[in-house]
C-alpha cells in the first residue's frame, strides 16, 4: 500500500533511503569533539552556579550566614529558597487523569526543609564553578536532622513520617485496574503460582550531565536557555509559566545532547533556580551537574516491590494475573510528567502479550525521603515484563510444561487485531507469534539444550530464558495532554529547498545521540527525492523549529518522522508544480530523483534542482505571475485512532551461573522486535542493543543503594555499577515489520524494546540455570550475594 503511493520500497530508486542503513551524519562531528553541548556554549559575563546540597535525607535548615561565602574571591551572589520564592512560583506535579493523585508544592530551592539527601538548598554564583564551590563550602547553614521515611513498605503505616503533613499521608497515587472476576477465577483455577518481585532503584547515567545556561536579556525581555533537554518546547512552557514571562519571550535551545534516556525530560528544581537567577541578575548563569550531583539529584526509577499471582488451567491456558505493585518515588512527584506514570504503566502493561480473561493490578505510589523517581527509558515496561514473564515461567514449571509451549498457547494470535487487553490497552496490530518463530530461527535451541545438559553433568549451570513484551510508543495526548500538562503530542516539520537545491528540515523532535536527525534526513531525502547528503536537519530550538513534543516515549521516528515525510512530500509536490511551469510539462508527468527533475515515465533528466532554484529565486521575473513560489512546506502529525502505537517483541538470554561465586556470565542474547517500518536498520539495531545493555544493567548491576537513614551509598562510578563492554554478551537482533496504518511512514518506536525485555529474559535464564538446584531469584539486581543466598550458600 505505502510502497505504491510513495515509492517506499527499498531499492527502487537511488534516493530510496527509508529502510536503508545510512551512517549517521553527526558521527564525525561527535567523535572529532566538534559537538556543541550546553557546556560548550560560552557567553560573556557568565556566572557559574554551585549548590549546597542537603547532607541529610530529611532536615530542617536555617541559612545563618552568607557573608563568608560572599567574601570568597569570585563569588558574586548567594540565593536562598526565600530569595527565589519571589522569582519563581512553585509547582505541583499532578495530572488530572491520574485520579486522586497528590503531591506537594515544590520550589527551585526549599525554604526551610530538605526532603532528600542531595537536594539543592542554597545557590552560590561566582565567576567560575570552582569559586562557586568554594563559596558553597563557606556557607553557614544549621541543620536539624529529622526522622526520614525511607522504606516504601512502611510509608503508609501508622508511625510513618508524613513527609508533607499538609497532604495527610504519604500516598501520592493509587490505581487498580480490574477485568473479569479475579477472586472467583483464581479460587477455581487448576494452578495458582505467586512470587514476590523487586526491581532495583536505578538511574540513567548520561555521559553528559544535566546542563543549563540561562541568559535573560533585560533589554528585550527575552530569556534564552541553552539546555540539555529532550523536550525544549515543554521547558519553554514551564519556564514561562513559573518565571512569569510570556512563552513567546522564552527560547530554549538544545544543540548536542549527550544521552538522555528520560533523565533529561523533566523539570529539575536546581535548573529552575538557574533560570530564575539569570532573570534576577540579567546575566547568563550556567550549571552543569557533576557526576556526584547526578547520582543524587537526577531522577531515579524502578524502585518497585511487586506481589503477583498467575492462574493457569491444566492445559496451560492463562486464566488471569493478579498484581500488587508498590513503588517509592521520593519526596515530590516530578514536574510536569509526574512520578505516578511508572506505576500506572505497570498497571497498563502486566500480562500485555497474552490473551486472558481475569486481571487485577494495583499500583500504590508512595512518597519517601530519597531522590525523586520518574520516567526513565522503557518506563514501567521492564517491571511489568519481569512480573509477567517471571510468572509465565513459574507457571510452566508448575505445570511441567515447556515455557515456550506455554507462551505459544497464550500469546495473542497474530490475526486477532485490533484487540483490547484486559488492562484496557488497544492494540492495532502485533506479531507475537511471528516474532517467536523468528526468534526460534535465530536461537539454536537444540544445540543449547544439549549443551545445557552436558554442562549440568559437569556441575556447570547454564540457563536459557525468554521474555515476550509489548512496548508503548507514539503516544497521543492521552499520555500527558489530557491530564493538563502543556506537553505536545503533535509534532511538526518544516522542509524547504534553497536555491542550490539543498534541503533544510526543521523538526520539533530532538536528538540526544540516538540518530533522530539521521533518520529525519533519510526520510526527507526520500520524500523530496534528493541525496541524503543534501539534507540538513535543524532540531532543538524553539525559535527555529515547528512546535512539538521533542523526543521521549519512543516518538521521534513515529511522530516526528511522519511529519517530516509529509512535509517532504508536500515540498516535492511544490517543486514539481514549479518544474512543470518551467518545463511546460504536467507536474504529474515529472518526478524528482537524486536532486534532478526527471520524466516520471522514462527517468530522463530534465533539470537539476539547483537550476530550478536559481531560476525561482533569482529570475522569478521569467516565471508565470500566478505561480506559487513557496519552496517550503510545513506539516504536523498527531496520532488520532489509537492512544498509543504498541510494538512487541521477544528476547532470549543464555547465561552461565557460577554457583560457587554467584557470578552470572552472559553468554548470548537475542531480540526480535517489531517496530513497524524500519527507517534505518543500523540505527534500530543500535537502539535495540543499547536498550538490552541498559536492561542488563538493571538486571545485574545498577542499584542506587541507600542506607536506612536515607544516605545514598552509590555516588561514584566505582560504586554504581553500569554495564560495561567486557561483560556484555554477543547480541543478535531480528525484526518483524508490522507498520502502523495510522501513518504513511508506518513507523513505531524502537528505542525502548531492548530495555523492556532484557531484565526478564536474564532473570528467567538465571532461574533456568538454577532450577536443578531448587533455587530462584526474583529480586533485581541479581547480585552474587542474592544468588548465593538463594542457593543457601550463605
Amino acid at each position: 500500500m505505502n510502497e505504491i503511493t510513495i515509492g517506499l520500497s527499498r531499492e527502487d530508486l537511488p534516493n530510496s533511503y527509508i529502510g536503508r542503513s545510512v551512517p549517521r551524519p553527526s558521527v564525525a562531528k561527535l567523535v572529532e569533539g566538534r559537538a556543541t553541548y550546553t557546556d560548550d556554549v560560552a557567553l560573556p559575563r557568565t556566572l557559574h552556579a554551585a549548590f549546597l546540597r542537603s547532607p541529610h535525607a530529611h532536615a530542617r535548615f536555617t541559612v545563618r550566614d552568607t557573608e563568608a561565602a560572599l567574601r570568597v574571591p569570585g563569588v558574586v551572589r548567594v540565593f536562598t529558597g526565600h530569595d527565589l520564592a519571589a522569582l519563581c512560583t512553585p509547582w505541583v506535579a499532578t495530572l488530572e487523569h491520574l485520579k486522586g493523585m497528590k503531591s506537594a508544592p515544590q520550589r527551585p530551592l526549599p525554604l526551610d526543609r530538605a526532603t532528600w539527601q542531595g537536594e539543592a538548598v542554597v545557590a552560590v554564583l561566582a565567576d567560575t564553578r570552582a569559586a562557586a564551590e568554594d563559596g558553597a563550602l563557606a556557607l553557614d547553614v544549621e541543620w536539624e536532622a529529622l526522622p526520614a521515611q525511607t522504606d516504601m513498605e512502611t510509608a503508609l503505616k501508622p508511625g510513618a513520617v508524613v513527609i508533607h503533613p499538609e497532604l495527610g499521608d504519604n500516598l501520592a497515587f493509587r490505581r487498580t485496574a480490574t477485568h473479569g472476576d479475579v477472586d472467583a477465577a483464581f479460587a477455581t483455577a487448576h494452578r495458582v503460582v505467586e512470587a514476590r518481585f523487586v526491581t532495583g532503584r536505578h538511574t540513567g547515567v548520561t555521559l553528559e550531565g544535566r546542563s543549563i545556561l540561562a541568559d535573560f536579556n533585560r533589554a528585550d525581555g527575552t530569556l534564552t536557555v541553552h539546555h540539555a533537554t529532550q523536550a525544549p518546547h515543554m521547558i519553554q512552557e514551564v519556564l514561562a509559566q513559573h518565571l512569569g514571562l510570556p512563552a513567546g519571550k522564552v527560547r530554549v535551545v538544545c544543540k548536542d545532547v549527550g544521552g538522555s534516556f528520560g533523565i533529561k525530560v523533566h523539570v529539575y528544581p536546581d535548573e529552575m533556580a538557574v533560570a530564575a537567577m539569570s532573570v534576577a541578575l540579567a546575566r547568563p548563569v550556567k550549571f552543569v551537574a557533576d557526576r556526584f550531583e547526578s547520582f543524587s539529584s537526577d531522577i531515579h526509577a524502578r524502585d518497585h516491590r511487586i506481589l503477583a499471582r498467575i492462574a493457569v488451567a491444566e492445559d496451560g491456558t492463562i486464566i488471569g494475573f493478579d498484581v500488587d505493585d508498590l513503588t517509592g518515588i521520593g519526596p515530590y512527584s516530578v514536574y510536569p510528567r509526574t512520578s505516578a506514570v511508572e506505576g500506572n504503566q505497570v498497571v497498563n502493561l502486566c500480562g500485555g502479550p497474552y490473551r486472558f480473561e481475569h486481571y487485577r493490578c494495583t499500583t500504590t505510589v508512595v512518597l519517601q525521603n530519597k531522590a525523586a523517581t520518574c520516567q526513565y527509558r522503557a518506563v514501567g515496561h521492564p517491571i511489568a515484563t519481569a512480573v509477567t514473564e517471571g510468572l509465565v515461567d513459574l507457571a510452566a514449571e508448575a505445570l511441567g510444561m515447556d515455557p515456550l509451549e506455554l507462551r505459544r498457547r497464550n500469546l495473542i494470535a497474530d490475526d486477532a487485531y485490533p484487540t483490547t487487553s484486559p488492562a484496557g490497552m488497544r492494540f492495532e496490530g502485533l506479531s507475537h507469534h511471528a516474532s517467536l518463530d523468528k526468534l526460534l530461527s535465530m536461537v539454536p535451541l537444540d544445540r543449547i539444550r544439549a549443551d545445557q545438559a552436558e554442562a549440568r553433568a559437569r556441575g556447570v549451570f547454564r540457563g536459557l530464558g525468554f521474555a515476550s513484551f509489548i512496548e508503548l510508543t507514539n503516544p497521543s495526548p492521552f499520555m500527558y495532554g489530557i491530564g493538563g500538562a502543556r506537553i505536545s503530542a503533535q509534532d511538526g516539520c518544516t522542509v524547504r529547498m534553497d536555491p542550490d537545491g539543498s534541503v533544510v528540515a526543521a523538526s520539533g523532535v530532538t536528538e540526544q545521540g540516538q540518530g533522530t536527525e539521521a533518520i529525519l534526513a533519510q526520510i526527507v531525502a526520500h520524500g523530496v527525492g534528493v541525496s541524503v547528503g543534501k539534507v540538513r536537519v535543524v532540531t532543538g530550538d524553539t525559535l527555529a523549529t515547528p512546535y512539538g513534543g521533542g523526543t521521549w516515549a519512543c516518538r521521534g521516528a513515529g511522530i516526528g518522522g511522519e511529519a517530516a515525510l509529509q512535509g517532504a512530500l508536500a515540498l516535492k509536490a511544490q517543486i514539481l508544480e514549479v518544474a512543470g511551469a518551467m518545463l511546460q510539462a504536467r507536474p504529474e508527468a515529472l518526478d524528482v530523483v537524486m536532486g534532478e527533475v526527471v520524466d516520471r515515465a522514462t527517468g530522463t533528466p530534465r533539470m537539476p534542482l539547483g537550476e530550478l532554484g536559481r531560476i525561482l529565486y533569482f529570475r522569478g521575473d521569467t516565471l508565470p505571475k500566478d505561480l506559487p513560489r513557496e519552496l517550503v512546506q510545513t506539516r504536523h502529525y498527531i496520532t488520532k485512532e489509537y492512544p498509543f502505537a504498541f510494538t512487541n517483541g521477544i528476547q532470549a538470554s543464555w547465561v552461565e551461573v557460577d554457583t560457587d561465586t554467584g557470578m552470572v556470565t552472559l553468554l548470548e542474547h537475542w531480540c526480535v522486535e517489531d517496530c513497524g517500518r524500519i527507517i534505518n536498520p543500523l540505527l534500530v539495531d543500535e537502539q535495540v542493543k543499547g536498550g538490552i545493555v541498559q536492561g542488563i544493567g538493571g538486571a545485574l548491576y545498577e542499584h542506587c543503594l541507600y542506607d536506612e537513614q536515607g544516605n545514598l551509598l552509590t555516588t561514584t562510578m566505582a560504586d554504581y555499577l553500569v554495564p560495561m563492554a567486557a561483560e556484555m554478551p554477543e547480541m543478535h537482533v531480528g525484526h518483524v515489520e508490522t507498520p502502523t496504518r495510522e501513518s504513511l511512514l508506518g513507523a513505531k518506536g524502537a528505542g525502548e524494546a531492548g530495555t523492556a525485555g532484557a531484565p526478564a529474559a536474564v532473570m528467567n535464564a538465571i532461574n533456568d540455570a538454577l532450577r536443578p538446584l531448587g533455587a530462584r531469584v526474583t529480586e533485581q539486581p541479581f547480585t552474587p550475594a542474592r544468588i548465593l543466598a538463594a542457593l543457601g550458600r550463605i
Binding site: T128, Y701, P784
Partner: protein, 270 residues
C-alpha cells in the same frame, strides 16, 4: 566538583623532594600516577597545599636484579610491570596481577609505589607484596630504611610511611611463583574478594582493612589440608559488610578462592 586551589611543582631529584617536605611539611602531597589521588581531589576529600610531581625522578624508576631480589622502582607503572621480562621471569605473580588491576588507561599511569602507599584494602599489589614477602625500600632526608611488606600495611589506607618519607622501590625475593585470583562484579572493578597465594601464604584482599595474611589457613595448607585451611578462614578473616554483601558472603568467597587456588585439579573434577 572542582579541585581545591592547590599548588603544583615538579621535582627532578630526591633532593627536591626533601626540600619540599622541609618547607611544606604535611601540606605536601606526592603525585605519581595520580589515579587515586586526583579523584580524591575532585571529591575534595583531600586538600593538599602542594602537589609535588615525582614522576621525573630517575632514581625511582627501573627494574633490576639486585642481591638475589628483584628491585622494582616505585614509579614502575602497572602496565610496565605487566610487560617487563624480569618480572615475568622472577616475580610472575606480579605480572599475573596486572590484568586484574582496573583498566588499561589506569594501568598506564598508576604505579606500584602509589598502589602500595595508598594501601587500598581491595588492591592487588599490596596483597602480592605481603604474599611474596617483599621488602619496601623507604627513603627520607634522614636516609633509607627497609620495611617488610607484612609490617608496612598498618590499617585502612594507612602504612608505616612516616611524614617526609617516600617509597623508593620494592624488593621481591625471586623465584617464588604463586597465583592470584579474585572475584569482581565487572572486569577491572575492585574485588569483592581476592587471594594472592604464594606457597602456604594465602593473602586475601577486599575482605579487611588491608591485605590479610590468613595464618591459620596457611598452617593448614602447609600440612596439605585444604579443607582445614578453608575452615580456618572463619577465624582468620573478619570481613566488613560492604555494598556487595555481608561478611558471610566474603568468607564464602574466600573459601571458594582458596579451594580453587590450592586444589585446582580437585575443583575441576567436582
Amino acid at each position: 566538583m572542582k579541585w581545591p586551589a592547590t599548588s603544583y611543582r615538579r621535582a627532578s631529584s630526591l633532593g627536591d623532594v626533601w626540600q619540599a617536605f622541609a618547607e611544606g611539611g604535611a601540606g605536601v602531597q606526592l603525585l605519581a600516577g595520580g589515579q587515586t589521588l586526583l579523584a580524591t581531589l575532585a571529591f575534595r576529600l583531600s586538600e593538599p597545599a602542594l602537589l609535588l610531581d615525582i614522576t621525573r625522578i630517575p632514581t625511582l624508576r627501573g627494574i633490576a636484579l639486585h642481591g638475589g631480589a628483584l628491585r622494582i622502582g616505585a614509579l614502575t607503572t602497572h602496565a610496565g610491570l605487566g610487560r617487563d621480562p624480569l618480572v615475568a621471569r622472577h616475580a610472575p605473580l606480579l605480572a599475573q596481577a596486572v590484568p586484574l588491576i582496573a583498566h588499561p588507561a589506569i594501568r598506564n599511569r598508576g604505579t606500584i609505589g602509589g598502589s602500595l602507599a595508598n594501601a587500598d584494602p581491595a588492591a592487588e599489589l599490596p596483597a602480592c607484596a605481603v604474599a611474596l614477602e617483599a621488602t619496601l625500600v623507604l627513603a627520607s632526608a634522614q636516609g633509607e630504611r627497609r620495611v617488610p611488606a607484612g609490617e608496612f600495611f598498618t590499617g585502612l589506607l594507612s602504612t608505616a610511611l612516616r611524614p617526609g618519607e617516600l617509597i623508593l622501590a620494592v624488593e621481591v625475593p625471586i623465584g617464588r611463583g604463586g597465583s592470584i585470583t579474585e572475584i569482581a562484579r565487572r572486569s577491572g572493578d575492585y574485588a569483592m574478594c581476592g587471594l594472592a597465594l604464594v606457597g602456604a601464604r594465602p593473602v586475601f584482599f577486599g575482605v579487611g582493612d588491608g591485605p590479610v595474611l590468613a595464618r591459620g589457613a596457611g598452617a593448614a595448607l602447609a600440612r596439605g589440608d585444604v579443607e582445614a585451611a578453608c575452615a580456618a578462614l572463619d577465624t582468620d578473616l573478619d570481613p566488613p559488610t560492604d555494598m556487595h554483601g555481608p561478611p558471610a558472603m566474603k568468607r564464602h568467597l574466600a573459601r571458594v578462592l582458596l579451594r580453587r587456588a590450592a586444589a585446582p585439579r580437585q575443583e575441576q573434577a567436582a
